[in-house]
């Protein structure tokens, strides 16, 4: 019972904050709503027993990536007024229409794929240590070895990208001077 209450509470916050995030004109407020949404999603993961994924969501997304977003916003000093004034009525109407259509499509797909087999059935029992860090580790470092090693290459590419960005800026400055 309590689980259900917490689930709905977190789910409503996650979705609500996500909606608020795109409704904001102020980019910093957008980032903050995204933080709230991600924390709520982490609670949902914890409820699914996926502890590691929940912790990961907070450490990587809220703790690192969104901080990077905030830095960029501050670096460029983006404030609300940089994103134009009121939208035209046509523009707004067309956006709402597209959203409604996409949402309807999503519902239709879910109805076909997910729901019929699941109605009235309980989720299958999961192993005792499902979602635990040890479980994640044994899968990650045995079965998904190559993807894991590829991740390191991906991260290396990201570093090289950062270095190139930094260097390019510096040479431009030198040319200016």
């Amino acid at each position: 019972m309590l689980d259900l209450i917490i689930f709905y509470f977190a789910a409503v916050i996650a979705v609500g904050a996500a909606v608020m995030m795109i409704m904001q004109r102020n980019p910093v407020a957008s980032v903050l709503y995204l933080v709230v949404s991600l924390v709520a999603q982490a609670i949902l993961y914890v409820q699914l027993n996926a502890l590691f994924v929940g912790a990961l969501l907070i450490i990587i997304y809220t703790g690192a990536i969104l901080v990077l977003f905030l830095f960029v916003i501050m670096l460029l000093n983006l404030r609300g007024e940089h994103f134009g004034g009121k939208q035209s009525r046509m523009g707004r109407a067309s956006k709402i229409a597209i959203t409604v259509i996409l949402f309807a499509e999503m519902v239709a797909i879910f109805k076909q794929v997910a729901i019929p087999e699941r109605i009235g059935t309980q989720a299958a029992a999961v192993a005792e240590d499902f979602g635990s860090v040890e479980m994640v580790a044994s899968h990650l470092f045995k079965e998904y070895l190559y993807p894991f090693e590829l991740t390191s290459i991906l991260l290396l590419v990201a570093i090289v990208g950062a270095v190139v960005l930094a260097k390019r800026d510096k040479t431009e400055k030198m040319e200016d001077a």
């Binding site: 409820q47 470092f141 390191s152 991260l155 290396l156 950062a162």
Partner: protein, 117 residues
Amino acid sequence: MDQYLSVLIFLLVGVGIVLFTFFIARLIRPHNPYKEKNQTYECAEAPVGNSWVKFNNHFYIFALIFVVFDVEAVFLFPWAVAFGQLGLFALVEMIIFIAILVFGLYYAWKKGVLKWV
């Protein structure tokens, strides 16, 4: 599961205490703003311009590199915990992983990106 409930209770109590304190403080503190008082501090002079400051873009580069190594650090946690049962192979695997990223660090270092100017 119940252990997480305690964390939630902790969060609620913490937020509750903060809000309660602010509520009490609102009742007892004075409120007398005027233009000079509400100016931002700038060594007792009238503030010049707005708070737009041209940042050293190093902050941004460091944040970017931080994201990369944060991901690496998070991968190390499950590896360390399951180290005993994973066997020698996982050790080699992780040393390769770390080596590739150390190479990245070395590259950034040599290119002078890690140097604060």
